[in-house]
Point group: C2
Chain length 150, copies 2
DNA sequence: TCAATACCGGACCAAAATGGTACTGTTTTC
DNA sequence: GAAAACAGTACCATTTTGGTCCGGTATTGA
């Protein structure tokens, strides 16, 4: 179905929960409760999001998590990349050179181009927009441009 | 990595091979040879592509496959959907209603919007463009629009 | 008519990815 | 020093994916 993993989906929910309480440090338990997800799962998500530098963690009593930068400065692409690695639709879009068919394979360039465009769509959606919960204008524009050119 | 399945990747290769010989009926063996893929795999791909109405099949001696319509009228979205089903980034982008969190989940609308935009990117890339093997203009435009709006 | 060619529709299986859980360690606060 | 809370890692069940095989049917042509 060409979809992101379920954990990536969860990660966006978790991130919007955190973003809804700016300048508060929320514990994993609080976040799990608000997102209605299992605590161990949320813990795992937050670890990955922390490694990617999207959230800051604080240990000890009254510790927890907080956004590492404003919601406007975090894109959906950031979250997807944190969970799934670099965005690329095919294996040779990301790491090229290990496909012996590459020479006569005219398809790889097209896939790379498409991957770039999709990355653009993901970069255009910010966490702030997702928090607002509105079908946002930028992504719509990209759709229409693409369709007009089809 | 947010990627299409390997079979989908193969399907694009197979489709461009067929498109390279318009008005010829190619056997599975010929296609497998040209695409440098295993014959049973190609057979499976062609079955799915046939069900989706992208290729026509002919049985019997000198049978084989042919594009069901011109390469200009077949988009990458057609191929992806033939292999992976409807395009949607999350489960609730495609089938909504089975997620009990949907009510307070402000994220689903954003994902749906993004899914639509990505579908647009995929629809903008035609098989004819992939055959030409050029980084095509339309997808590039979509990228730039998305980035400009970010 | 019969044999060869080639697609059709399944079933099947091994390997990998995914999602989820548990456990132990370390840091910080009170 | 005890409790709270994150850190790291390992583990397992399930599902998905990729790949293969086989019996059936349609078409051609000798």
């Amino acid at each position: 179905m060409l979809r992101v993993s379920r954990l990536t989906d969860y990660a966006t929910v978790v991130m919007t929960c955190i973003a809804a309480h700016p300048s508060d440090v929320l514990s994993t338990a609080q976040i799990a409760d608000e997102a209605r997800l299992e605590l161990p799962t949320v813990s795992k998500l937050l670890k990955l999001l922390g490694h990617a530098g999207l959230v800051e963690s604080f240990r000890g009593v009254n510790g927890g998590y907080r956004l590492a930068r404003p919601a406007e400065a975090i894109s959906l692409a950031d979250i997807v990349e944190a969970m799934e690695g670099p965005i690329g639709m095919t294996e040779c879009s990301v790491a090229q050179g290990q496909c012996d068919r590459q020479a006569q394979c005219g398809v790889s360039d097209s896939w790379r181009s498409v991957s770039g465009a999709i990355g653009g769509v993901l970069r255009a959606m910010t966490l702030a927009q997702m928090l607002a919960g509105r079908p946002t204008a930028p992504a719509k524009d990209a759709t229409q441009v693409a369709q007009a050119n089809a």
